[in-house]
Symmetry: C2
Subunit: 203 residues, 2 copies
DNA sequence: ACCTGAACACCGTTCAAGT
DNA sequence: ACCTGAACACCGTTCAAGT
């Protein structure tokens, strides 16, 4: 897994091949098959590894709101540190131990917020889709920047041939080209946590 | 683009190759290079095509809340209909016309909600990350189900070796295995729209 | 202007053979 | 138990040659 992460982050989004894994580990590429059934199984293990890294040292906070913010920022930091690995593995459901630890940690916070049963599960899904989606968006941006050499390669190349067709985008074009991704994320997480607070059943 | 979408949905997530594109179009695979610089450019065009399909017939509603819900459901329906294409292209920033139409439609709704400048842009980012992230999550689930032949292949294979380590997941394991993805999504979208309402500056 | 065929370097995967 | 080397079918991409 160390070798896999290092290959991803040194050589980019599509870099994880059996050849490179074998070379990095000082073995033949086919030897890897002795330890993984195929490429999908390696990516599953990468997903588990990123969950492990994200959760390292995690403990629930006194306030459930702080727990959720902590968990959200841990995933963000992991996506920022390992964008190529994150872009390849954030939406793989492993069913493994570290994934379950994440699930359980989120469900614990929602339990403390007062949610039970299917309401807890719906809010868990909402939270985890937000975290993983934002993580992939960040990872995609970072990879695109790394390829192109530019900073913020996203929508900010705003220069349409007929700007009069997009008046609302035109009105905020400078803000579109220049915003802080981390601020957007913390605001997004805060919005969800506030919603969880407001909608929580009283107990 | 029709051929590309058809290949994706008939043969799966990794099916879009030059060989298959050529065959589907009754031409040699290398002829495709006359029309696209490379594979990345094809995927960009697929992303534009999915935006076009999503926006077909869209008009802003009287209430900005309804506009945002409409846009959110359109992206959802597209991801459901074209999961392989969506999984490959939802986070590609094309800078193209249809992407800009989406951006502009969201910004119009947020403008009507009272947001301007960087506040509009932050909320646009929040909304679009939610929509795209949920779309990729749906697409990944559907692809996994198609591969495995099962229904809901996600976290619902919940059967850890030591369930006592995950008490909060254990408490809702039946709900984890059996939830309605569309309901989760509509609730997620509603939560964001409510937040936009509550935080909107008064004008 | 558009297409074809051969070629290149590289994939994932399998498997008989080695130690 | 673990690794290697050869082989297979398939990639994306380039390019000279055709019409």
């Amino acid at each position: 897994m160390e070798a896999a992460l290092s290959i991803f982050e040194n050589f980019g989004r599509d870099a994880l091949t059996f050849n490179r894994l074998g070379a990095e580990l000082g073995a033949s590429s086919t030897a890897v098959y002795r330890h993984f059934q195929g490429r999908d199984e390696i990516l599953e293990a990468v997903a588990e590894e990123l969950n492990l890294i994200s959760l390292r040292g995690y403990e629930a906070s006194a306030r459930w709101q702080d727990s959720l913010m902590d968990l959200a920022m841990r995933a963000w930091d992991t996506a920022e540190k390992y964008p190529a690995a994150a872009a390849n593995s954030f939406f793989i459901a492993t069913g493994g131990e570290n994934e379950l630890r994440s699930v359980d940690a989120i469900l614990q916070a929602l339990h403390e917020a007062g949610y039970r049963g299917s309401e807890a599960v719906v809010n868990y899904q909402v939270f985890s889709n937000m975290v993983l989606g934002s993580g992939i968006a960040l990872a995609s941006d970072l990879l695109l920047e790394a390829e192109s050499g530019n900073t913020i390669a996203n929508i900010q190349e705003y220069s349409p041939p007929r700007p009069e067709l997009f008046p609302y985008a035109e009105a905020v074009k400078h803000e579109l080209s220049n915003f802080n991704r981390r601020n957007v994320y913390t605001q997004h997480v805060s919005m969800l946590i506030s919603s969880f607070e407001q909608n929580a059943p009283r107990r």
